[in-house]
C-alpha cells in the first residue's frame, strides 16, 4: 500500500481509509482521533473521539461534557486496531496530553505528530521520536530565523524587569492552554514564589492542570476591582487582552508576550509589546530538522505553517517531501479566547 492510499486529504482533514477515521478533523466526522486540545485540532461535534485522557478532559472543559457522541481514552504506547489499521499514541511534548499518532497499515508506518516541541516543558511528557516511513509534521516555525533561545534567560528577562520596575504590573500575554501554565511552572523553577495572577479566561484550564498534578504554586484570578493594586505583580492573560482596556487598568503596565513569534521584531512591535519573551510550545527550525532526521522517515508531509522552507530543506537532504496545504490549522489561532491571527506559539 502506498502512504497516499492510507492517508488522504479531505475537506474534513487527514483521513485514514483502512481505519475509516480522521485525524484532528476541522469539521464534524463519524470517528476522530485527536492529537491535542488546542482548538484548531480539537473541535466539538464528532461522533466518536479517541484521544488521551488529558486531551478529553481539556475538550470537556472547553466545549462541555457532551462535546462528542462517545469519548474513548487512548493509552500512551498501547497499540489498538481500528479497522485494518493499528494506531498508537505517544507523547508529543507540546501541551498537557498532547500526542503523536502512529498509524500502521499495509506494511507502512506513518506518524501524524500534531504539534510538537523538543524543548523542556515541566507541564507535559517529553516528545518521543518514533521510527517511521512517513513523518507528518507541522511547520509553524519552519524558517531558519526561528531559533528559540534558552528558556531560563527569557524567564530571567521577566524577573529582571520586575526588579527594575517594582511598581509596575507586568502583563504577560500567553495562550490559555499550555503556554500560560508552562510559564507559571518555569517561574516557580526560577524561584518566583509570589502569587501569579491570571485573567478569568484561563482559570478553568489552569485548574485542570493543577488537578492533573502539575505544581503551579498559588494562582489567583484577577478581580476587576483590584486591578489597581497589582503593581509589581505578574498577570498572565490571553494574548488578545494585552492591548485591551482591561490591561490598562493595572498600575503603569509593562506589556509582555510569551511566544515564538517574539523572535521577529516586527511581530513584537505589531502587538505593542515592550518586553518580548521568546517562549514557544512548537519546535524551532533546528528541532524540526533534527526530529525529521531522528524518525528516519524517507518521506515528510508538512501540514501547516511555513511549509515551503521545510519542504525545500527535506529535499536538499534527499528526502521526499510535500506540503499538504491544510486549511484550518494555525489560521484561526489556537485559543478560543484569542480568535484571530496567528497559531498558538
Amino acid at each position: 500500500m502506498r502512504p497516499t492510499d492510507i492517508l488522504k486529504i479531505t475537506p474534513q482533514g487527514l483521513y485514514c481509509a483502512p481505519g475509516d477515521f480522521h485525524i484532528d478533523p476541522v469539521r464534524p466526522v463519524a470517528q476522530a482521533l485527536v492529537t491535542h486540545g488546542h482548538s484548531d485540532h480539537a473541535r466539538p461535534g464528532h461522533g466518536s473521539v479517541l484521544a488521551t485522557t488529558e486531551t478529553l478532559r481539556i475538550m470537556a472543559v472547553r466545549y462541555g461534557e457532551g462535546f462528542c457522541g462517545t469519548a474513548q481514552e487512548a493509552r500512551l504506547g498501547e497499540s489498538v486496531a481500528i479497522g485494518d489499521a493499528r494506531v498508537t499514541f505517544r507523547p508529543a511534548g507540546h501541551v498537557l496530553g498532547s500526542a503523536q499518532i502512529l498509524i500502521e497499515a499495509g506494511g507502512c508506518r506513518i506518524v501524524a505528530s500534531g504539534d510538537y516541541k523538543r524543548a523542556r516543558d515541566p507541564t507535559c511528557l517529553p516528545f518521543e521520536p518514533i521510527a517511521c516511513d512517513v513523518f507528518i509534521t507541522e511547520a509553524t516555525f519552519g524558517l531558519p530565523v526561528f531559533r528559540h533561545p534558552d528558556l531560563a534567560s527569557e524567564v530571567r528577562k521577566l524577573l529582571d524587569s520586575l526588579a527594575l520596575f517594582p511598581d509596575r504590573a507586568h502583563i504577560v500575554g500567553a495562550y490559555a492552554l499550555g503556554k500560560a501554565q508552562r510559564l507559571m511552572a518555569l517561574l516557580r523553577e526560577a524561584g518566583y514564589d509570589r502569587p501569579i495572577y491570571v485573567h478569568g479566561a484561563m482559570e478553568r484550564l489552569t485548574d485542570l492542570y493543577k488537578a492533573e498534578g502539575v505544581p503551579l504554586g498559588e494562582v489567583r484570578k484577577v478581580v476587576a476591582a483590584e486591578r489597581g493594586k497589582l503593581g509589581g505583580e505578574i498577570v498572565i492573560c490571553p494574548p488578545s487582552a494585552i492591548q485591551d482596556l482591561w490591561a490598562r487598568r493595572f498600575p503603569d503596565p509593562v506589556t509582555s508576550f510569551a511566544s515564538g513569534w517574539m523572535r521577529v521584531r516586527a511581530r513584537a512591535r505589531q502587538k505593542g509589546v515592550e518586553l518580548p519573551l521568546i517562549v514557544s510550545d512548537h519546535s524551532d527550525w533546528d528541532d524540526l530538522c533534527a526530529t525529521i532526521r531522528e524518525t528516519g522517515a524517507g518521506e515528510v508531509w508538512v501540514t501547516h505553517g511555513e511549509e515551503d522552507a521545510l519542504v525545500h530543506w527535506c529535499r536538499t537532504q534527499g528526502l521526499e517531501a510535500r506540503p499538504l496545504h491544510m486549511i484550518g490549522y494555525g489560521d484561526e489561532g489556537d485559543d478560543a479566547d484569542a480568535p484571530r491571527e496567528e497559531p498558538a506559539a
Partner: protein
Amino acid sequence: MNRFAALLDRLAYEPRRNAKLRLAAAYLRETPDPDRGYAHAAMTGALTFRNAKPALIRGLIAERTDPVLFGLSYDYVGDLSETVALMWPTPQAGAPGHNRPPAPTLTEVVETLASASRSELPARLAGWLDHLDEIGRWALLKLITGNLRIGLSARLAKTALAQIGEMEPNAIEEVWHGLEPPYESLFAWIEGRGPRPESVDPAPFRPPMLSHPLEDVTDFRAALDPASFSAEWKWDGIRVQAVAGFHEGRKTARLYSRTGEEISGAFPDLIDALSGDPHFVGAIDGELLILRDGRVQSFNVLQQRLNRKTISPKLIHEFPAHIRAYDLLAEGEEDLRALPFAERRSRLEAFVGRLDPQRIDLSPIVGFPDWPALEAARADPAGAGAGVDAEAVEGVMVKRLDSPYVPGRPKGLWFKWKRDPFVVDAVLMYAQRGHGKRSSFYSDYTFGVWRQGQAGPELVPVGKAYFGFTDEELAQLDRFVRKHTTNRFGPVREVTHTADAGLVLEVAFEGLQRSTRHRSGVAMRFPRVSRIRWDKPPREADRIETLEALLATYPEPETTDP
C-alpha cells in the same frame, strides 16, 4: 558593542518618548568616551561607511546559507539585517579558531570600518558576527548599513545629550553641525569639563515647524476667525531648509531635509547658486521643486531626479532644482523665529526680492475673505492664482498671522488642508501576505475595474494597495481573503471576483499616469483603500472608462522608473 546593542534593543521596543529619552541619557551618562560619542553619532545618522553595503552582507550570508531558505526567511522577516542576524550560523564552541574571544567594542567597529580596505572588510565583519548574539548581530548590521531606524529622532538624541548637562536642546543644535564624532569636546562642554566647542556652524539646521490637519479642528469654520490667518499653497515637493552663513570670511551654504539630514550633495546646482549669491545669507524654509520654463513639474518628475545616484550635468540641466520660499528663519546673523508670521513674511518678501528668481521665488499668498472662498481655491487652484502650476498643489496651508516659528508641531498655529484625492470603486482580485509586522496578514491587495472583454465584462487589475485601512479593517480583510480564496500561488491568494460575489474596495489615489507596465494601461499614484464597500456588489464597481476620463482631464507624464 553589547551595551550599545542592548540600548538599541530596548529603544526599539519602547514606545514612550520620555522612557526613550531616559534610556538614551542613562547610556550616554554611563558609557565612557569614545564609545558614547560613536553611539550618539550612530543614533543620529552621523556615521556612514562607504564600505558596508547590503550587497556585502548578502554575499556573506549567501556563503553560509541555502539561497532558497534565505529568500523565504527574508521575505518573512522583511528586513535584511534582522534576517541575517537571526539566520547567521554561529561557530560551534571548540571549533578551531573559535575559542570565544570577546565581542568587539563599538569603537573598534567604527574605527575598523573607517580604516579597513574594501578587501579586508568581509572577513572582519564575519568575525564580529561570529562572536555576537542575535541582538548584537542585528545592531551591528543596522549600524554598518546606516539603517538604525529605532524610533529615536536626531532631535531626541540631542535632547538626551542636553539632559546630561541640564542644557537646552537648541544649545546643542547650534553647535552641532560643525562637530565630528566621537564629540569628545562636546561631552566635555556638556559635563562642565571644557569650553564651548569652537567651530560654531555658520549654516546650522533649525528644527522645522509643522502643522495639523485643519479637519482635526472641530467645526473649524466657526471656531477659527479667517481674519487671523494667512493662506498659501501647499506644494507637492520636498520640504527643505536652505541655509548660508559666514565663518572666518568663508561662506557655507547647506540644504537640509525637514528631519535635519543634509542633502546638499544631491543638489549641487542649488548649492552653487546659494553660495554664489551675495544676498543669500540666512535661512529659508521652503519647498524643493523642479521648474521647467518657469513651470512647476509634478512630484513624479522630482522623484526621477531624487532616484538618481549620480548627479550628472545632464540631469541638472533636465531637472533644474528650485526653492519656493515659505518662511524666513534667519537673515544674516539675526534669528527671526520669535517674530510673528506676518512680520517674517514681509521680511521674506524683501529678502527673496533680492535673489535670483530662477532659483528661489516666493510661495504666493492666497487671499480669502471667508472659509468657503478658501475651500473654493483649494478645489480649483488653477482658477485661484496657481495657474499652470495647479497640478503641483497638494492643498492649502493656513497659518496664524501672529504665529512665531515654533519647532515641532505646536497646537493651534499652522494647519494643512489637503485637496480631496481621486476615488474609484474597484474589486479585490488578489491578496498577498505582507512583510514584517504584517507577515501574518494578507495585507497587499490587487484590485481591478471592469472592462469589455471578448466574452463579456471582465475585471482588469489597475493597481495594488497596502495601506489606508485600520488594524481592525485589516483583520476583516484578512478574514475575507482566507474565506474566499479560490486559488493559491505561493504567497498570493486569488480571491473570488465575479459580478455577484466578491469585495468592492473604495480606492483613493493622488494621480493617474499612462503605463505600459500595467495591463490596464494606467498606473495610480499612492493608491490606498479609503473604504471597504461591504455593501456594494462587484458588478457596480467602476469601469476602466472612468479612469480613462480622469486621465484625459488630469494628465501626468509617464514615469520611466517605477
